[in-house]
């Protein structure tokens, strides 16, 4: 079990996580999700038990990057196991760490129904219905699944669109 956790943790790049920690609150305030903010920016991290440390680490990074929150809003970071996806009920954005397909699909379905922006560490989840991920090439670039984003009727800031690439679903 421990070995598996270490193995999974090793799959997460620290630099990429640093980027995600900066990106996550900003995607909320630079999209129509900003309208859903009540008192705080709520970001939910979905993880398998094996990746809990990674999720906590991400939370720490966000706290570190935004000690005073963003704009006038404090940042509430919620950690949630994939088995307890309902914990992300009030979140404007959910960050999905790796998991099995069943968890992933269930979480994506829940997030779609709940209108939360789904950002995944693994770019492969875009194919399954995640909204945003990072493309790791020569440079790191945000990748947007415009199909799922538009289905959720989420509007992104124009600037986000300009710095991002659009994911095109492969024809089956």
């Amino acid at each position: 079990m421990l070995n598996s956790a270490l193995l999974n943790a090793a799959n997460y790049n620290e630099d990429i996580l640093n980027i995600y920690s900066k990106m996550l609150p900003r995607f909320v305030v630079m999209s129509s999700q900003k309208d859903k903010i009540d008192a705080s920016i709520e970001i939910c991290a979905l993880y398998d038990r094996l990746d809990e440390r990674v999720a906590r680490s991400l939370g720490d990074k966000i706290k570190s990057d935004y000690p005073n929150g963003l704009l006038k809003y404090p940042i509430k970071f919620v950690l949630s196991d994939y088995s307890n996806v309902e914990a992300c009920k009030n979140a404007q954005l959910a960050f999905m760490l790796n998991s099995d397909d069943e968890h992933i699909e269930r979480a994506l379905l829940y997030l779609r129904e709940n209108g939360a922006l789904a950002m995944s560490y693994d770019i492969g989840l875009l194919e399954k219905g995640a909204d945003v991920s990072l493309f790791i090439g020569r440079t790191v670039t945000p990748y947007l699944n415009m199909k799922s984003i538009s289905e959720k009727k989420i509007l992104l800031d124009n600037l986000l669109l300009r710095v991002s690439k659009i994911y095109v679903e492969a024809k089956k």
Partner: protein, 433 residues
């Protein structure tokens, strides 16, 4: 100064003034036009360049800001590389963080901050663009970007502008040259016209120009002058003929006048029938002689003579014969005078008078005797086939030395009295006193 300029201006020909005026006007208009064009062109160019540069900076700054806020430094580098590649006029891009540390820099080969034109361009706030990078979410400054744009486009514009100016100058000069040549040709024609008019002599009729086919002002002037010259020639010819005729008439009339004057003069002092001096002239002559004799205290002899029985001649042979007798008596009297100072005149009818200046009574008597002799000589003469009876004359002489109070009328009276005595004593006699 103004006076001198005016005097100089009067000396300069209109042709020169026209050419100088056109050249100055063209240069002034060309210069104003070029200045305006260049000014507008450069202003528009600078504004366009400024807008273009600002547009680029304003476009990239938010993206850079977002990438910085995301921590995507590599994305920024890639993005700025792309910007440099797509914008060849960008010679420098510097991206700095809030601590002014350069986190990205890209310099092209053209980047040379020591060149003077960079400074000049920088002053114009055209080629350099500095902009703060703002976090799109929090609006806080998270860095700055500096761009420098190449001056190459400005140099190219200036070069094109200079080329255009040179072309315009060349075209203007060429056009001006053509125009000046045309003007000179027109003025040459006017000069020829002027020379022809100046050298024209109506008597020689040497005007060489003929009527022109041109319909412009020069043609109109030439045709007017040619018409005028033709009229002058015609009137000159008529005038010459009239003058010649008048000159002949004047010569003829002058000759007639001279002759008439001479005749009148002669008539005024001469007796028409006998050709001797008349009584009027005798009076003047005697008055002068009398005064001279008075001054010199010399004798003046006065002879009054009358043809004896002259009435009988008239009655017997008619007046024409009488006239002929008078003419012959006059000739005889004239022949008898020996001295230049002796003077004979017809006193009236058949009566004659002789004045002898410085002539004594004896001299006068001798003269009378010579007259009698001469009268005898012409007794054989006939008139128109009719033989004339011999005529004699009676003579009365008065000889005096006129004193201060003496008057010539008294001498005449004495001579007349002596003549009367001669008539009384039987005629054909000489009585002196």
């Amino acid at each position: 100064m103004i006076r001198k300029i005016r005097e100089f201006s009067r000396k300069v020909s209109i042709e020169f003034k026209v050419v100088v005026g056109i050249v100055l006007f063209t240069l002034a208009m060309g210069s104003i036009d070029r200045y305006q064009l260049s000014h507008n062109l450069l202003s528009q160019f600078f504004e366009a360049k400024k807008s273009k540069n600002l547009l680029l900076v304003n476009m990239i700054a938010p993206i850079l800001g977002l990438n910085i806020s995301f921590g995507l430094d590599d994305a920024n580098s890639e993005y700025l590389d792309y910007i440099v590649k797509e914008n060849p006029y960008v010679t420098l891009i510097q991206l700095k963080n809030t601590q002014q540390r350069i986190i990205y820099e890209n310099k092209s080969d053209e980047w040379n901050p020591t060149r003077e034109n960079w400074d000049e361009s920088a002053k114009k706030d055209i080629n350099f663009c500095d902009k703060n990078i703002v976090d799109p979410s929090s609006n806080s400054i998270i860095g700055s970007v500096r761009l420098h744009f190449s001056d190459k486009d400005f140099q190219e514009l200036q070069s094109a502008n200079r080329l255009l100016t040179l072309n315009l100058i060349a075209i203007t000069l060429a056009s001006l040259s053509l125009f000046v040549i045309m003007i000179k040709r027109e003025f040459r024609h006017l000069k020829e016209l002027n020379e022809s008019v100046l050298s024209y002599d109506p008597k020689l009729n040497n005007f060489s120009l003929t009527k022109s086919n041109r319909s412009d002002e020069v043609g109109v002037i030439q045709n007017a002058i040619v018409s005028m010259v033709e009229k002058i020639g015609l009137y000159t010819h008529i005038l010459d003929e009239t003058n010649l005729s008048l000159e002949g008439k004047v010569v003829e009339r002058t000759k007639e006048l001279v002759e008439a004057n001479e005749k009148l003069k002669a008539l005024s002092v001469t007796d028409e029938l006998t050709g001797l001096a008349n009584r009027r002239y005798f009076g003047k002559y005697l008055e002068k002689t009398w005064e001279l004799a008075k001054r010199k205290s010399v004798n003046v002899s006065l002879v009054m003579c009358d043809i004896d029985y002259f009435k009988k001649v008239n009655d017997s042979y008619g007046h024409q014969m009488g006239d002929e007798v008078l003419r012959r008596v006059a000739a005889a009297l004239n022949e008898s005078l020996k001295r230049n100072t002796d003077f004979v005149a017809r006193y009236g009818g058949e009566e004659f008078v002789i004045v002898m200046y410085e002539g004594s009574l004896d001299d006068a008597t001798l003269l009378c005797q010579r007259v009698q002799e001469n009268l005898k000589k012409c007794q054989d003469l006939a008139f128109e086939g009719v033989k004339i009876d011999p005529v004699t004359m009676s003579f009365g002489i008065s000889c005096v030395v006129p004193d201060k109070d003496a008057r010539y009328e008294s001498a005449i009276k004495k001579a007349d009295e002596a003549l009367y005595k001669a008539k009384e004593n039987g005629r054909n006699r000489i009585i002196g006193c």
